[in-house]
């Protein structure tokens, strides 16, 4: 398995204020697949994504990505893991406002071990004509495409998307999902999308539902749709 999560536990706060964001979650995912994790707010889906991405550490359990045990890695090793293996896309894009579109992508390419060509990435996401613009000069959908280009330019093994269409209208959401499909097909990047939007689940190879910090269901999607076919 490419991703293996075993009995993952994470608690925030203590005593009466304690909240169990993950309460013994288990998950396995094959390489190259698109996995959509669905769940209501506070179900623990963002926490699970952060743990797999090496942004936060578990209180119990274990996570392995591509044979590498993430749990217990030092801060330095986690930084290296994020740099080499993981690409992130967030709901609010989180682009660096003082860098142009091209620079937001290049800044990652500069530190990656085997980066993809920046121009190729900009073309792939159809944003080359905005290369000298700043994030504030772009629409939400365009900004999200820049965020995908930035995540993909390091040629990561794993792409983690946190509510990537959450701030977009339907047309922009569809456009962004098309690019997710495209990079998944072109680069074979294992993709994990967390969302509360049921409509997105159609493009997934695997649909996981999470509730109260536990995996409630795991379904392989036999009727996978393209982004254009989704009902959103």
């Amino acid at each position: 398995m490419f991703i293996e999560v075993k009995d993952a536990k994470k608690q925030y706060g203590t005593g009466e204020a304690a909240v169990y964001a993950l309460d013994g979650a288990d998950l396995s995912l094959e390489k190259g697949k698109i996995c959509v994790i669905l769940g209501p707010s506070g179900s623990g889906k963002s926490t699970l994504l952060n743990m797999i991405g090496g942004l936060d550490s578990l209180d119990g359990g274990e996570i392995t990505v591509d044979g590498q045990k993430i749990t217990g890695l030092s801060k330095k090793a986690l930084t290296s893991y994020r740099m080499q293996s993981v690409g992130f896309v967030f709901q609010f894009y989180n682009l660096i406002p003082d860098l142009t579109v091209e620079e937001n992508v290049e800044v990652v390419a500069e530190i990656a071990e085997k980066p993809l060509d920046t121009d190729e990435m900009l073309k792939a996401l159809d944003i080359q004509k905005y290369r000298y613009r700043f994030p504030r000069e772009l629409s939400g959908g365009q900004q999200q495409r820049v965020a995908i280009a930035r995540a993909m330019v390091k040629n990561p093994k794993l792409l983690l998307c946190d509510e990537l269409t959450g701030a977009l209208d339907t047309r922009s959401s569809r456009s962004v999902l098309k690019f997710i499909e495209k990079v998944n097909a072109q680069y074979g990047t294992t993709t994990l999308i967390i969302t509360h939007n049921e409509g997105i689940a159609g493009i997934a190879d695997v649909v996981v539902r999470i509730r109260d910090g536990k995996i409630a269901s795991y379904t392989e999607n036999d009727h996978k749709l393209t982004a254009d076919e989704l009902e959103m």
Partner: protein
């Protein structure tokens, strides 16, 4: 208003900002208080002491003694207080002593420790020497070959600044002191001693007529008004300099700090624009919001002002004492006037309050929707630079951070600039005083000894070169020496500012110090008068001799004799390359080529505490201002830092991208700080001419420049180091939650 509960919480959250802002406020106010307290305390003490102990208005000597009954007649005639003072000088090898018979009416002494001489074996000495050499009551000292028990120490109003000879440039409390013994003992030891006359003029006294009558009847040998007596004038002059410096500091440094804090506060308020927009949308009135934020800003002003005032009230004694280094151990009452303390609290508070209010008012003029989206102030065109450049992204980011945030960059620059300037000024002061000692040799001439004689000699001296030297004054009573030399004199420096040798046989030349003090230049006609006879003379100045340490007009002995009315063969001083075996009684003063350097070293030793305190303050200003600004910068970049972490950037790379952009400001900040320090030192030197009768060449040696660069850079990197952990501690997940672009 419930909203005001945020004050306490905000201080806790932004502790580092409030701490830095408070420290900066305190440092600048402390500097103001320090100089103000010292200046006013010394001035008041001087006035009170002069009045209580009957300070003279002038001292003079005559060739013929004035009979006692004549003194009373003169007092009645001119409405003056006149007293004959008897004194004697003695050289004990290790030290020299000027012994006085106590006066009854003028220049009385005040016992500082112990008691007045009661027995013939008692002596009291000037307090400065006792402190400097740790002489205690009961110790024994040899004076005029006889041992005396020290019964006490004293101060007297005409010697609060203990200059041994009026030609000296700095006090001497290491090898010179004043003393009193019983009248019987004085008579036994020194017979009658020498005589000086002390005078206090009445309000209606015609001083010129009085002096003329003295000269006509008793032949005035010397006359020194209190206004020209450095031992007296220094008290108020240095105190006035302190007060002047305090206002300079109050105007310049706090304003700069206020500007710094205002910019930081403005940025913090801008960072809160979403909240301001939300509150505005909720219906909060503009005036309430303005009041809320302006009170926020007033916190560092109130805390800083209060703490500084309390500190200054408690520490006003030690504070003011720093300014006493040059004086005899006076005991002024140093107090911080209430109005100054209140001003110290109100002024910065008011400025911060106003700055915040204007900032919020400006923000509230913006569209509420823009405020809610946090988009106000994010469209700086300057951030667009280098968009098509192929340089590294990190470099382009750094440049945009600097150019796109001019206020923040200015504050960082200011912190570096101020720190470097204050430190460099401290070092420049040390270098400049040392340079006086080093350069003086060349400007004096090549002689190793200058013997000033008690008597008027005639002909050629037995070794060395003859010199005639007499005190004169200009129309504004500024004293200088009139010097006569032989045309072939070689030991006195006669090189003019044009690089030529002064033709003293055919003209009159002034020193550069005389040029600065008396305002006379080459080609001018200069009118001056004899201090003794008040007879006026006018000569044309043919050139200026480079000498910033001695105030004189020089010409040939013959020309000087024409002015003084003495014989052209007369001389009263000898210059020599080697020690001369002269009769001890004939020598009034011996000046060696190292005397001047020693005086400068003494001046440096006395002021070193103040100078190093200044350098320390520079360091605090540098670290505090940089810490406050970079801290704000990190808060503003919290989102970018967490995103870079998510992207896999190591902390080192993040430091270099976010913080290191400021390195570009380091070199110009230091360079301009050093240049400004040099400029201030040059101005300070020009002020010194009047007070110290000395031209201090503004100097900043390469080693001092290196020290300034190193210390400023160290302060800069220390402040960044203190903030490194903030980058390391930035939580990726938490920071990303509120990141919306």
């Amino acid at each position: 208003m419930k909203l005001n509960k945020r004050y306490a919480r905000s201080i806790k959250t932004d502790l580092s900002f409030y701490f830095s802002a408070t420290v900066l406020t305190m440092v600048t106010l402390l500097m103001f208080y320090l100089f103000y307290i010292a200046g006013t305390g010394i001035n008041k003490y001087g006035d009170d002491f002069f009045s209580a102990y009957k300070r003279e208005d002038a001292t003079f000597s005559t060739y013929a003694e004035i009979p006692d009954e004549e003194l009373s007649a003169l007092e009645l005639k001119y409405g003056v207080t006149l007293e004959k003072e008897r004194f004697a000088a003695t050289d004990e090898g290790e030290y020299r002593v000027r012994v006085f018979l106590p006066n009854g009416k003028i220049d009385l002494y005040e016992i500082q420790d112990g008691h007045a001489p009661e027995n013939n074996g008692d002596i009291i000495i000037s307090a400065g020497y006792a402190v400097e050499n740790n002489v205690k009551v009961g110790d024994r000292l040899k004076v005029n070959g006889k041992e005396y028990a020290v019964a006490g120490t004293f101060l007297r109003p005409d010697y609060l600044y203990m200059v041994e000879n009026l030609t000296d440039d700095y006090k001497n409390v290491t090898t010179f002191f004043l003393a009193y013994m019983t009248p019987e003992e004085f008579k036994d030891s020194f017979d009658g001693g020498s005589i000086n006359y002390k005078v206090i003029y009445g309000d209606d006294t015609d001083q010129v007529t009085f002096r003329k009558e003295i000269n006509e009847n008793y032949y005035m040998a010397s006359y020194l008004s209190a206004d020209s007596n450095m031992r007296i004038t220094f008290v108020h002059q240095q105190a006035d300099m302190f007060i002047m410096s305090s206002w300079f500091i109050l105007v310049i440094f706090p304003l700069v700090t206020v500007a710094l804090i205002c910019i930081l506060l403005g940025r913090r308020i801008r960072a809160e624009q979403k909240l301001i927009g939300t509150l505005s949308a909720m219906g909060y009135e503009k005036s309430k919001l303005m009041r809320h934020y302006s009170l926020f800003a007033a916190i560092p002003g109130v805390i800083g002002g209060l703490l500084t005032s309390v500190c200054a009230l408690i520490l006003s004694g030690p504070f003011g004492s720093i300014g006493l280094a040059d004086y005899e151990p006076m005991k002024p009452q140093f107090t911080l006037p209430v109005w100054v303390a209140v001003a110290g609290i109100i002024v910065p508070t008011l400025i911060y309050w106003l700055a915040a209010m204007l900032r919020v008012r400006k923000l509230l003029k913006e569209d509420t929707v823009k405020l809610l989206a946090g988009q106000v102030g994010n469209n700086a065109k300057s951030r667009r630079i280098l968009t098509k450049s192929k340089k590294k992204v990190g470099f382009k980011y750094a440049i945009r951070q600097l150019v796109g945030n001019p206020g923040r960059s200015f504050v960082i620059f200011l912190g570096i600039f101020l720190g470097a300037m204050i430190m460099a000024f401290g070092y420049s002061f040390i270098d400049s005083v040392k340079a006086v000692g080093e350069q003086a040799h060349g400007e004096f001439g090549t002689f190793k000894y200058e013997y000033v004689l008690n008597t008027l000699e005639k002909g050629a001296p037995d070794g060395g070169e003859a010199m005639m030297i007499l005190p004169y004054e200009d129309g504004d009573m500024r004293r200088f020496s009139l010097i006569g030399l032989d045309g072939d004199a070689t030991l006195w420096n006669l090189t003019t500012t044009d690089g030529k040798k002064a033709d003293i046989e055919n003209g009159f030349y002034i020193s550069t110090l005389c040029e600065a003090i008396c305002g006379v230049h080459k080609g001018d006609e200069f009118t001056f008068r004899s201090i003794a006879t008040l007879e006026e003379h006018t000569v044309k100045i043919d050139g200026v001799i480079r000498n910033g340490y001695q105030n004189y007009i020089v010409s040939s002995r013959e020309k000087i004799a024409d002015i003084t009315g003495l014989d052209k063969e007369n001389y009263n001083a000898i210059l020599s390359n080697h020690s001369l075996d002269l009769e001890k009684d004939k020598v009034a003063e011996t000046i060696t080529d190292s005397s001047f350097e020693t005086q400068m070293q003494n001046m440096l030793n006395a002021m070193s505490g103040l100078v190093y305190a200044f350098i320390g303050i520079g360091m605090i200003v540098c670290v505090a201002s940089l810490y406050a600004t970079v801290n704000t910068m990190l808060s503003e970049n919290r989102h970018n830092i967490s995103m870079l972490k998510v992207l896999g950037f190591e902390n080192g790379r993040i430091h270099s991208m976010i913080i290191s952009s400021n390195h570009l400001l380091l070199i110009p900040g230091i360079a301009l700080g050093i240049a400004a320090a040099y400029g201030i030192m040059a101005w300070y030197s020009s002020q010194f001419v009047e007070i110290e009768k000395l031209m201090i060449p503004a100097t900043l040696k390469p080693f001092s420049i290196i020290l300034t660069v190193l210390f400023t850079a160290a302060c800069y990197f220390v402040s960044l180091l203190l903030l490194r952990r903030k980058v390391d501690k930035t939580n990726m997940v938490e920071a990303l939650k509120d990141g919306r672009e």
